[in-house]
């Protein structure tokens, strides 16, 4: 009896350890010198896409590489890492997480090793801790893989206001924002190419998703507009877009949401009513509209109901 059991364990172990060649290739585009972006897909996270839906990538300096978001699964993290290693021999010094959402952080584990510093918004660690059990359940149910608590790699350095990262002949400026898309949004500005990596502070094509504060996001957009950039990188949408024009559709959507919901609240109309009727005219302008619009309305309604208090 003993031999087969051991053999079974061995065969299972062999199955579980992916060979180096099993790592899927990750498509990347160089949007500016030394800035590489993988384009996500406009789909809901599911077991088919394994939650690998966001734009992720990295910036190469002379001394260091900074990874910006690690992908929607540990496998995508590994794929990103091997793509980086095939492009440059410069070591990875930093992993920057732009916010807590699973499609941006589940690849973290692939980069966890001595010499790599994880960086995030000062509220990221808490957001990870608060959401981990809920996210673990969701991954199991919707994405078809299970996550250990170790998969939620919190930042080693947190950004309260701004942080300057030197990559060697290249300087990144990281900004922690007030509650917008989430309560832990971080943007990255590369001064050399005037590229503004906004991640989910900027949605293009994919309907913006409010998981923080509608009013806060609109206030952040006002601040972002003052940044002297040429190129923006959205979290969902093309790999890059012209600045500041890239912001327009998102801003228009969020502003309409705000003004219409305010009008509904002022007229003592209900959340249900708002969810059925607010701003359906832009339905054709966005992908995943039906999946997120009503949810945005309920989130925003609950916020705006109390905005004067």
């Amino acid at each position: 009896m003993k031999v087969p059991v051991i053999a079974l364990i061995l065969s299972l172990t062999a199955l579980n350890a992916p060979a180096q060649t099993d790592i899927p290739k990750l498509s990347l585009q160089q949007v500016a010198p030394g800035i590489y972006v993988h384009q996500g897909v406009h789909e809901l996270p599911d077991s088919h896409n394994r939650g690998e839906i966001a734009n992720i990538g990295f910036i190469v300096g002379q001394r260091c590489v900074a990874v910006i978001d690690t992908g929607g699964s540990p496998e995508q993290g590994h794929a990103l890492r091997s793509a980086i290693e095939s492009i440059t021999t410069t070591p990875i010094c930093y992993v920057i997480n732009t916010h807590v959402h699973p499609d941006h952080i589940y690849g973290n584990i692939a980069f966890k090793q001595p010499g790599v510093s994880f960086i995030g918004h000062h509220k990221l660690a808490e957001a990870m801790a608060m959401r981990a059990p809920f996210y673990q359940e969701k991954a199991e149910r919707d994405l078809g893989f299970s996550l250990k608590i170790e998969n939620f790699v919190p930042p080693d350095h947190s950004v309260r206001d701004t942080l300057v990262l030197e990559l060697g002949a290249r300087t990144l400026l990281l900004r922690a924002h007030k509650t917008s898309h989430t309560d832990n949004d971080l943007s990255i500005y590369d001064a050399q190419t005037k590229t503004l990596w906004l991640a989910d502070l900027l949605f293009m094509g994919h309907l913006p998703v409010v998981d923080g504060s509608l009013n806060g996001w609109l206030a952040t957009i006002e601040q972002l507009k003052t940044i002297d950039a040429k190129l923006a990188i959205p979290g969902h949408g093309p790999v890059s877009a012209d600045w500041p024009g890239a912001l327009e559709p998102e801003e228009r959507y969020l502003k309409t949401l705000q003004s219409e919901i305010r009008a509904f609240i002022k007229d003592d109309k209900t959340m249900e009513d708002a969810m059925e009727n607010v701003d359906l005219s832009v339905r054709d302008d966005w992908q995943l509209f039906d999946e997120f619009h009503k949810r945005n309305i309920s989130t925003a309604f609950a916020e705006l109901e109390w905005e004067d208090d």
Partner: protein, 272 residues
């Protein structure tokens, strides 16, 4: 080795079969399993419950957009009169960690035993409203809702602001001028984080202790309009819509108490 692989494969097939069979069997009876398996007995014993929408009707979205914020409505089909009225409406969400969601008590002065609120839904489940009329009969209407994670969902992003605002309440009346002697729609907004106690902080491995509104009393000129016992299924910043009948001008008053003993109240002048 060959034998082993065969066994292994056989085992997996057997497992898959077992899963398929039990999975589908579970699915078929699942919708009523919690109710028939104890909830019904726990809350109503052996009393007869008439099912349908003759006395009350429950409305809820089939697919919840946000499981922590599911708007539902309960509409009564009979007017509240001295002779015949809905005394109590119990709200049960079968597959929530705490199925008992709320219990609302009405009087003939309520005018109409209609209600609307927002609830948390943690799993695919039936939501049930069970009305007890003053003759002691029970009437149930149920709706199936697809949602998951509403109770364990992360606490709203700005807990500090929510705590600072805790206890604030405001009324909204449907019409600026109240219509005397008839049912007027009112909305009560309560600011309270209504923490479920199921949201774990993985950093400290601490579960934020449950902190929620447990009791609500609404009165008009000191006469009760609506009294409720509420539990963690009620969404953060509870929001209730209900009717009241003003005989004269007067004052609408809401008093709440949470499970930590905090009490808050608010009033609203009503003029015809």
């Amino acid at each position: 080795m060959k034998q082993l692989i065969a066994l292994n494969k056989g085992l997996w097939l057997a497992l898959a079969y077992l899963l398929a069979v039990t999975g589908s069997a579970f699915a078929a009876g699942e919708e009523e399993a919690a109710w028939n398996g104890g909830l019904r007995q726990k809350f109503f014993g052996d009393r007869a419950i008439e099912e349908g929408n003759q006395i009350i009707e429950l409305t809820a979205p089939y697919r919840a957009e946000d499981p922590a914020l599911v708007p539902i409505q309960i509409n009564s089909k009979i007017p509240q009169t001295k002779d015949r009225y809905i005394k109590t409406v119990t709200l049960i969400i079968d597959n929530n960690p705490v199925p008992f969601s709320a219990n609302f008590h009405f009087t003939p002065e309520s005018g109409k035993a209609d209600l609307a609120m927002r609830v948390r839904v943690n799993a695919y489940t039936h939501i049930r409203a069970i009305a007890e009329t003053n003759d002691g009969k029970l009437h149930m209407n149920k709706v199936f809702v697809k949602a998951s994670g509403g109770c364990s969902a992360p606490i709203g992003t700005d807990l500090e602001a929510a705590m600072a605002r805790m206890g604030k309440m405001k009324f909204k009346l449907d019409n600026e001028k109240a219509a005397l002697q008839q049912p007027n729609l009112a909305q009560l907004l309560i600011s309270h984080p209504n923490i479920t106690g199921l949201q774990m902080d993985q950093l400290t491995r601490m579960i934020k202790p449950a902190h929620f509104v447990e009791e609500l009393k609404v009165s008009f000129n000191d006469k009760p309009v609506l009294t409720a016992q509420t539990d963690i299924a009620i969404s953060a910043d509870p929001n209730f819509r209900f009717y009241f009948v003003p005989e004269t001008a007067g004052e609408l008053k809401a008093e709440i108490r949470d499970n930590k003993g905090n009490q808050f109240s608010a009033t609203q002048t009503v003029t015809p």
